[in-house]
Assembly symmetry: C2
Homo-oligomer: 239 residues x 2
DNA sequence: GCTTGTGAAACGTTTCACAGCC
DNA sequence: GGCTGTGAAACGTTTCACAAGC
């Protein structure tokens, strides 16, 4: 499908985690009509340093042009290839509560080659509910659904108490990629990839920094308007 | 309030990110009736190695007892203190769409000393809507709301196009901690902490690993039941 | 005997600085 | 002249291994 097949040398985990951000920035640049972009410009748009960006892209074996920059369209193609986004990945969402509803309806979810192909829940009262084009099925149907829908990724949005059991069932059905929103640690066999998103943890990390600042500046709180001096250097931290 | 005030030496960012997980595990252990816990046991419950756990806790200046382990209640107290969870932090949620509704109703959000104290949206049609005990206000009221509700943390759940403007307003109103769910890079002044949660990025990272495995095992897909050999070593990856 | 706390080694990531190339 | 690609240095994190202490 694409001429230049990037060697599958080992990409560092840190690099992989940043590729999606580069991709997002590149899509925006493409839409804005840019054909090429310098490492400096792309780095700014992605919230990283240019050196880091160049190191990352060099790992892809990707070739920019010295004196010019990177070809936007080519780079998009390469990153999508490395991330395996050329193939559609089917997603099953388990736990159709508050958060599950939001995830099911989240447009950005579907945008990058992913498709929520199944909704499941353990509560018989929710089974049969229609959400968009999908009907909620019982979690007992998971093995069948994984097969017929060719599910590659399971998203767990159940309460913490149910998450491990759901993970076990996903793994038993052959799913090897899990995105876990339940606030708990999942134990899975070797070879299964789990990523956790925990909202409460993010808040607690922010709380630490708030607390830290309170210590630094003892009691100078009244109505100070801006945090500090103007819009200085960008400060971006990734979860 | 607490006798042993931990010195505020520099905690590494990696350690800070894990403290909330230890806290969660400790709360579960406490509820299960444990008074003390070994680094080995707590590490298992938190999905890390015991050496890492001990290094982390030693940074707190926290004292376990050799030959015995850590006092659960004491450790909870220390971690909560370091994370600044002894004080209630008020949260403003901006963007009451699909995801915003889910976040507003998410119980786990409120569980650890956080309280969603304000809901805001730019759409006049949504202003005035009641959600639980709160009424959605217009985002123009942000400066006032931040003052009266003593908002410490802003959660952005708007579309990407609106996020930077909302961030600017939050910062101008004095908020210095932002949790961003919009799929974009925010630029903020020095001293403002931003954490990003992007669902699409998480899926893309999982996609990479799927793709990687496809390469490793060319075409052996039919109906293989378990991923590999039984429930081996736990494999947990944090976002 | 068992478990913590911690130097030292190993590893991974980021930054620097500049050679190489357009 | 300008920008990429990359060794080398700096930095941060994890793992190892064991001395110290209950």
């Amino acid at each position: 499908m694409d001429g230049v097949v990037a060697e599958f040398r080992a990409l560092s985990e840190a690099t992989v985690a940043r590729l999606p951000e580069y991709l997002r920035a590149l899509h925006m640049l493409a839409q804005a009509g840019h054909d090429t972009v310098s490492s400096e410009a792309l780095a700014n748009a992605s919230g990283v340093t240019s050196a880091k960006l160049r190191k990352d892209l060099s790992q892809l074996g990707s070739y920019g042009t010295r004196g010019v920059g990177y070809d936007v369209a080519l780079l998009v193609e390469q990153i999508e290839h490395v991330l395996g986004l050329t193939k559609r990945r089917n997603v099953a969402l388990i736990g159709i509560g508050n958060l599950g509803h939001a995830l099911a309806g989240y447009a950005g979810f579907a945008s990058r080659g992913f498709r929520i192909s199944a909704l499941l829940d353990a509560d018989p009262a929710r089974v049969g509910e229609r959400l968009g084009e999908l009907t909620v099925r019982h979690v007992d149907d998971l093995p069948e659904v994984v097969g017929t829908e060719r599910i590659a990724i399971g998203v767990i949005a159940t309460p913490a108490g149910a998450a491990q059991e759901v993970a076990n069932r996903l793994v038993a059905a052959g799913v090897r990629s899990i995105l876990n929103f339940a606030p708990c640690v999942l134990t899975v066999p070797e070879g299964v990839e789990v990523r956790n998103v925990d909202l409460a943890i993010e808040l607690q990390i922010l709380s630490f920094h708030e607390h830290r600042r309170e210590r630094a500046e003892p009691a100078s709180r009244a109505g100070l308007p801006p945090a500090s001096d103007g819009p200085g250097a960008p400060r971006v931290v990734r979860s």
